[in-house]
Structure formats: C-alpha cells, structure tokens
C-alpha cells in the first residue's frame, strides 16, 4: 500500500455528536500532550510505510501544524469528502489498495496486519471495527468504487469487517479527551507526551516557564511556551497545552487546558477541559461560557498580538453559567 487519505473535520455518520461540548471543535485536531491526534496519526502512517497521504480538511485551521512534508498533500474543501473523491480520481487504476481514515477517533492499529487482511479477502471494501462497532477506517480498491457516492458507499455499502485490536478512543466527548491523557500518562496507549521528561512523570516542552514557587505534581504535562505563575499547583494528570498561561495561585487538577488559553488568578480548576472561554466540568457534567476575560479567555489573539493586552479588560465582564445540558 502506498497511499492514504485522511479526512478531518466532517462527521461521516450517525456518531454521537451532541455531547461535544467544545463546540465546533474536532477533538482530534486539538493538541493532546503536545500535538494533535491528526498529526500523530499522519506521522505514524508515514513511519509505517505509507508513501503519500492526502489530508482532506474542511478548514485550514485543522491542517495547521503540518510541516511541509513532501509526502503530504493538504486539500481544503467545504466538504472534505469531495476533496477525497477528487484525490481518488487522480489515482485512477494504479493502486490495489487505498487506506481511508476519518479522524475522528484515535485508533492504534497494525497497518501491515490490516493490509494483509485486505489482501486475503476479495471484498472491495474492508472496514475496521472494534467491540463498540464500526470505525471510520477503510481499505478500498479504488478502481471498483463509484467515486461519486464514496461517502454513502463506505458508510452503508457492504464491507468486510477487520477487527482492530489496538487502543481506540472515539474522542466524541471532552471526557474522552481526558481519558486519552490519563491513558497516555499510564502507558495504556502508544501516545506519548511531547517534550522532555524533566522529572519522573513531568513532561515539559521548549519555552515552558514555571515560576519557582509553583508546584508541578507528577504526572503532568506543560506544553510549549506555557507560563505557570507563582504559587500555582498543577497536579493529577493535568496537561496544559501550548501558549497557555496559568495566572497566580491557581490550582489545576485533573484538567486539560487547551492551547492558547488564559486562566486567571486564584482559581480552582478540577476535572475540567478549558478552551479559551469555554469550560467543561466533567464532574458536574456542564459546560460554561465564561464571559469575564479576567477569569478566562484566549491567551493571545490569533493574529499574534503581545500578551500585555491582558490587563484593563473585564470591568463589565461576566461569568455566565450557560445551560447546556448536552455537556453531560
């Protein structure tokens, strides 16, 4: 097998979308312990011998962070499946097998074993599945697939099921994101934190700044260019992703702080996922939009303006307890 198509950012079937509390965010494309699931998957496919990969995304944000790798093609379209169809058409009849993945889920599988399984079966479509049901992972013979109906053919058409035996996390809910972090810290999967292990169970990336009086308890992860201010405590499987800032005296426990988030002074964050102003509390099963930028906000404007803009806001700010029961 030489080619793969990776689809990001468009759900392909009746997956459990409603609880996705960090709305409009594909969880697989946000950083987990230093880098996204999409990027990790692509890198692993390249390592396993895939010669070229087309990454089909619905927005350029989802393709961010991919280095200019000669084996990667980034295709952006409103419907990433259309981009996938166009890519398949380019292959014509030259390939015996193309791997198609929609990420989605974090799936660890043995590519060699999957290809062998595909070769041993005469079906034109082989689909991966686990105990919970089918996965968005297919191997197809492109010449026999009606490209115009690729999406429905893969979703609904006849296929042989290939049992995936590796670690799988469907990443449907922020709770799954937390589970992935904990599983990684406990070595239950192959996903490893980026950066270096500065002390047993504490990983730090380049540019991370931890003030002397702050305390980091293992296992924890501090991402690239993160600042942990004085008197803070980061503990119990917490991960603070790149460009985030945790201000004076705040406690972060069993919590994921997604990239570029600012967490204010003297707060107590536990069992949560934070993304800028959005806070999902997994213990209570609620999602809040924090209106007061002194409490939480995006750390840096995406244009890259300096951090000194922090002060002076929030006089009229508001902490809004939004009623979003979908978070549970």
């Amino acid at each position: 097998m030489a080619k793969a198509i990776v689809i990001v950012g468009n759900d392909s079937g009746p997956v459990d979308l409603a609880p996705s509390a960090i709305q409009h965010t594909v969880l697989a494309s946000v950083d987990v312990l230093g880098t996204s699931v999409v990027r990790r998957t692509v890198e692993r496919l390249l390592r396993d011998g895939i010669e070229s990969i087309a990454i089909c995304c619905s927005s350029s944000v989802e393709s961010e962070g991919f280095d200019e790798h000669p084996s990667l093609t980034i295709l952006t379209a409103a419907d990433p499946w259309e981009a996938a169809v166009a890519e398949l058409a380019r292959y014509e009849d030259r390939l015996d097998c193309v791997l198609i993945m929609r990420i989605g889920a974090y799936v660890e599988f043995d590519l060699g074993d999957a290809v062998r399984f595909f070769g041993e079966h005469s079906d034109n479509v082989v689909r991966g599945f686990d105990d919970e049901g089918p996965l968005d992972l297919w191997m197809i013979r492109p010449e026999v697939i009606d490209n115009a109906n690729l999406f429905s053919r893969l979703q609904l058409g006849k296929s042989t099921y290939y049992p995936v035996r590796g670690y799988i996390n469907r990443l449907r809910h922020p709770r799954d994101l937390r589970r992935l972090v904990v599983d990684s810290f406990n070595s239950r999967c192959r996903l490893r934190p980026q950066g270096s292990e500065v002390r047993h169970g504490i990983w730090m990336c380049d540019g991370a700044q931890v003030e002397k009086s702050a305390r980091i308890v293992s296992p924890s992860f501090i991402g690239r260019d993160v600042t942990i201010s004085e008197q803070c405590l980061v503990t119990r499987y917490s991960n603070i992703e790149r460009d985030s800032y945790v201000d004076y005296g705040t406690v972060v426990e069993d919590t994921t702080i997604l990239p570029n988030s600012y967490v204010g002074i003297g707060l107590d964050l536990a069992h949560s996922v934070v993304d800028g102003r959005s806070l999902v509390n997994l213990h209570h099963g609620v999602m809040l939009k924090i209106g007061d930028p002194v409490v939480m906000r995006q750390n840096k404007p995406l244009a890259g303006v300096v951090r000194s803009l922090w002060s002076g806001s929030g006089v009229d700010g508001q902490i809004t307890a939004g009623r979003n029961q979908n978070a549970d």
Binding site: D268, L269, L279, N281, V286, I319, T320, A321, R323
Partner: protein, 135 residues
Amino acid sequence: MLTSWPVVVMQVPEELNAQEVHLFMQEAGPLLQSVRPRLVLDCSQIRSIDSAGVEMLLHCLEEALKRDGDLKLATLSPESEVILELMRVARIFETFETCDEAVRSFQAVPTDAIPEGAPWQPTVFGEMEALKQAS
C-alpha cells in the same frame, strides 16, 4: 435561650450581576441587619453570575455571621456550583438541594429541648465530679 427566630427564604434573581445585586441588597440589607439573621437563598432561578454576584453572596454571609446568624444556599444549579467551586467559595457555603432542607437545617439542634441545668460536658466523658474522682 431564644431559638425561634424566623428563617427567611429569599429568591435570588436570574442575573446575579452588579445591577441586580444592588436591587437585591436593598431587599436583603434590612434582614441582614436584624438580630441573628437566618437566611436561605433560593438559587434555582440563577442563569448567570458575575464576580459582583459572588462577592454579594460572600458579603451577605459575612453580615449574617457577624450578627450570630447564618446564610445557606438552596437549589443551586450545577452551573452555579461550578462557578462557586472555580472561584474557591463553594466550601464556604452550606448548600442544600431544596429550600425546605435548608430551612430545617436551622432547627437541626433544638436547643430548647436541652434542659437549663444540663452539664455542658459530652456524656461520653461523664460528669465532672465522676472524672475528678476517677483521677
């Protein structure tokens, strides 16, 4: 000992922001100035709280405690609970699932049921005289 001070249940407004706090305090202020104020705040209507709202709750509690009274919160939504936990004030308040429970909690120890001359020592230690003899 006086034990029959009334427990007042007050409805907290939907938006607990600076503006609403002002109006709420106009109502709650005189109650908090009374002797041994006993307040239950019914938080079931709260849709949003800002920092002024959290500050007001703390202020009310402080005023009640100053006068040997207490303030309890009832029917907090999970969202409000998360906000109080985030701001590190959740542990300060006694919270109840219903207003009834909160009201009953004020009468949890019926002090008028204790006879005037009863010894202050817990019975597990026995009476002071018996302790002295034993020693």
